[in-house]
Amino acid sequence: MDKGVGIRIEGLSKRYGKGDTAVDALKEVNMQVAPGEVVGLIGPSGSGKTTLLKCLGAVIEPTQGRMTLGGEAIYDNGWTISDLRVLRRDRIGFIFQAPYLIPFLDVTDNVALLPMLAGRPNGEARARAVDLLTALDVAHRAKAEISELSGGEQQRVSIARALANRPPVILADEPTAPLDSERALAVMRILDQMATQYQTAIIVVTHDDKIIPTFKRMYHIRDGHTYEEAGQGLSLQ
């Protein structure tokens, strides 16, 4: 696994539409996250953070700029990777606003799905899933149905899923929005732990004041521009 530079974004721009009705959602964004770092991406709605996340997640195509992932350029004024899906599957982990677990798979299979899709044999995929679940302290629910889990348990399972293929990057979209402060901090704690343990670069998009203080480094985004800011780095212990 490439333990290179994590994420690097240079001069990324995204324009929707053409001519008079064109909207510049991103204007020359620069960003960098090292492996093991948990970085916040903070901005109000409409600021372009979702667009940035989508570009990072390789689900929409930027208009221009450069993206490097783990030392390998994936976008340089055009996709440089042929199969974006494989990129997303193997190199990017997603944590959504809601857990979005697959309801007809049990907990273990939800987590093991991605390694299985990547071609790993079922036994190995499930073993890895159990490891992750143990690390996230939900192993006792390994065989349960998704509907039986509490919100917090589902959240942790979704985190385990994001980590299942050991991606170098995780993109988290408002992971603490529906949670209270105690739970929110617990989630941040876990993310921090996982980042350190697996040397993953994690970007957390949020506007949740409860967790903003925990970031050591943050990017603010407004009207398509980003600027870096050092965070408070509140301890999560």
Binding site: T50, G57, V59, I60, D90, Q97, I102, M116, A118
Partner: protein, 397 residues
């Protein structure tokens, strides 16, 4: 790799099973309609086989005796018996009429036959063959009669002495076999009022009621109430002789037509059943379309219910093919359940239909293939919807 389709089915097995059951009943109805058509064709074939004849000799220029009415004199068979290549030739009459038992009556085809000759039922399921020359009958079980019942045909009472099975007319009416002379009388003689009226009318006709010729009126009345016609002569051809050759011989006679079994099958199936088969064909097409629509609707709804999961799956890196094949497998699974339920249902309720329902294995195989193809086509709607989902929608909101 686990089977996403299988997991999804297991997870919502109730919905799936109920849908499969409903679809299965619809498919069962489709099988039954096809079975009704096959039953009609089989009725025609059985009618021809059970008569034991190789040739049907009927009135010239008619398609009789089943498709059209045919009337020939009852002494024609003597000449036919004398032809080379003819092993047996016998008169038969056919008349579809109401047969009364107690207070109920049954629509049946009354067949007049000569014992030991073509036209007699080849096998029985109960009772015995007719031993008296009059007033005994053998009936098909579909009539509902039992051995020993007294039934009324026209003017006389008959005792049911034997029962047979699968002796039906091409229209599906059960057959009742009675001695030929009784059948000739039943076909011809009217009820008492009509006879009395006819006698009165003849007596009023001065040309027929001549006082100078005693006995003339009686003779005319007697000739008016006797019937010397039959509907057909059934012929069994001798071993090793060609039925068509014998038929050619018979056709050379004036006023007679002879059909071989192949020609009779054509007449019955092509002409008699043609309209019904078109109707059934249209019905089958409609049922197929409805089944396809139902499968498409169900699968589409199930897919739409999973749109969010599909977006997530696509986002996290699931191949389009994996997702499409999940939908396809679900559609095929639904089709398989429907087919099995439908085939079992059709077999179980087929005997309850008033007409004969014949379910052939090749129809089941054909039905299976069609169900699978229909499911594949029906799933394309849902697959298109799934493919159009933008994985980006999983982010944001």
């Amino acid at each position: 790799m686990i089977s996403l389709a299988g997991r999804d089915i297991l997870h919502s097995w109730g919905k799936f099973a109920l849908t499969g059951l409903g679809l299965g009943l619809l498919i069962g109805v489709t099988f039954t309609m096809a079975g009704v058509y096959r039953g009609m064709v089989d009725d025609a074939k059985v009618l021809l086989n059970n008569s034991g004849a190789d040739l049907w000799v009927v009135q010239k220029d008619t398609l009789g005796p089943y498709a059209e009415s045919s009337s020939i004199p009852d002494d024609v068979y003597r000449g036919i018996r004398g032809l080379s290549g003819v092993a047996q030739a016998a008169n038969v009459t056919y008349l579809t009429m109401q047969v009364r038992k107690g207070n109920t009556d049954v629509r049946a085809m009354v067949v007049g036959f000569e014992p030991g000759q073509p036209g007699e039922p080849g096998y029985l399921v109960a009772g015995r063959r007719i031993t008296r020359g009059h007033y005994e009958a053998v009936a098909d079980v579909v009539t509902g009669f039992r051995v020993g019942d007294r039934i009324r045909i026209r003017r006389h009472d008959y005792t049911v002495v034997g029962l047979t099975r699968r002796m039906v007319s091409s229209g599906g009416d059960p057959m009742v076999f009675i001695p030929l002379k009784d059948a000739q009388e039943a076909q011809f003689l009217k009820d008492n009022d009509a006879i009395v009226n006819s006698r009165a009318r003849t007596a009023e006709n001065p040309a027929l009621n001549r006082p100078g010729v005693p006995g003339l009126l009686d003779a005319i009345n007697a000739s008016q109430t006797s019937n010397h016609n039959v509907n057909a002569v059934l012929v069994r051809v001798a071993e090793g002789r060609s039925a068509e050759a014998v038929a050619q011989d018979i056709r050379r006679w004036k006023h007679l037509q002879a059909y071989t079994r192949g020609q009779m099958e054509d007449i019955l199936i092509a002409k008699l059943i043609a309209t019904a088969s078109k109707q059934i064909g249209m019905f089958l097409v409609i049922l197929m379309i409805v089944s396809a629509a139902i499968v498409a609707f169900i699968i589409y709804t199930m897919t739409l219910g999973k749109i969010r999961e599909i977006a997530v799956l696509k986002l996290i890196g699931t191949h389009n093919i994996t997702i499409s094949s999940m939908i396809l497998q679900q559609a095929l699974g639904l089709g398989l359940i429907g087919f099995v339920v439908g085939k079992i249902a059709a077999t179980l309720w087929g005997p309850l239909f008033p007409k004969y329902v014949l379910l052939l294995p090749e129809d089941a195989v054909r039905g299976f293939v069609i169900v699978m193809v229909v499911c594949v086509l029906a799933s394309t709607l849902a697959i298109r919807a799934a493919l159009k989902v933008d994985p980006a929608t999983a982010i944001g909101g």
